[in-house]
Symmetry: C2
């Protein structure tokens, strides 16, 4: 998506270790017009798929996911990183997500009430780097016996392993901005999936 | 809001200690149509206020907040419960929020880049119980020198102290569903602010 690339170019900040900070418009402050355009792009990309549910993970995935859910007119579910007091044992699906950036492993949970074998699920998340969050979400869908239809990503770090790991599992990925490199604090792009 | 009251009545579950579980449509799985109607109600209630920014706190506030931000066409900022690796010392406002439900105190932070003395801020959150989250957010706005215009709440527990604490500070509150009581697992309502 050209607008997103432009904003990454203008307002994104590159830090050592391939960190791209986009917190002025995506994951701390959010530009609602941009977010809505991104949601529209995902809708156009996946609209033939008979989606019944949008799945994301707290917290940065929630804003794009609710807008996509509005367009598909289906419920959105966000996986939680801790078990809510109202969820009892055996009432939820659980998986683990390792964050290489923060070097921590989180459990993620979704109540069994909100994912079923009937569900045809589109995963939405802000970043795809090593793919661990998406693989954790895909594992929750698998446990529920549901169908994973595809993954919509705002910004993909194409120089890391996530994309490859997902494609090896035949998971379709639509990334609206694909970073070829952040070397020397210079941002290089690949062609985004919605522009192919 | 009648639709919200109806859903609380039909799909909400009351647990001991005045816990109301609405995770089938508000804070785990989200009903996007309901969320959009709620956002519209906040917009109608506050539309004369010249809002420049929507402020909320991760994670359950994000979905209503982004929809409200879209209607006002202003940026949305969500306070974080941990300091992101990309925020350096002195680059953020910080306050504390005590959760009586979980009996933990969290620090909340917002980057100084995203709240300023120019900002006229509307706070959006899912629940108002003891008011601690809103008071923490109000403190961040105060530190920035900004103006707090009001607070939009999906579900208020009117039998707890939050509403009173906010009104003592002359903070205007619009709650779309006001719970008078959850005693004996029966849900009683007060008149919602958008219906007055």
């Amino acid at each position: 998506m050209k607008l997103l690339e432009q904003m990454v170019k203008n307002d994104g900040k590159v830090y050592p270790n391939n960190v791209l900070k986009v917190d002025s418009f995506i994951n701390h402050q959010i530009n609602p017009k941009l977010m809505l355009e991104m949601a529209n792009s995902f809708y156009n990309y996946f609209k033939e798929k008979r989606v019944t549910k949008i799945l994301t993970i707290e917290a940065s995935g929630i804003a794009p996911a609710i807008l996509v859910a509005n367009l598909f007119d289906v419920p959105m579910v966000f996986a939680k990183k801790s078990v809510p007091s109202t969820l009892t044992r055996n009432s939820f699906y659980e998986s683990t997500v390792h964050s290489y950036t923060k070097n921590v492993t989180n459990n993620i949970v979704v109540s069994k009430d909100f994912l079923s074998s009937e569900d045809r699920v589109l995963i939405i998340d802000d970043f795809l780097a090593n793919g661990q969050a998406v693989l954790g979400l895909a594992d929750l869908i698998r446990q529920a016996g549901g169908t994973l239809l595809g993954v919509g990503i705002l910004i993909e770090k194409s120089f890391q392993d996530g994309r490859k790991l997902l494609e090896e599992k035949n998971i379709e990925v639509c990334s609206l901005c694909r970073l070829a490199s952040l070397e020397n604090e210079k941002i290089e792009f690949n062609l985004a999936d919605d522009e192919k």
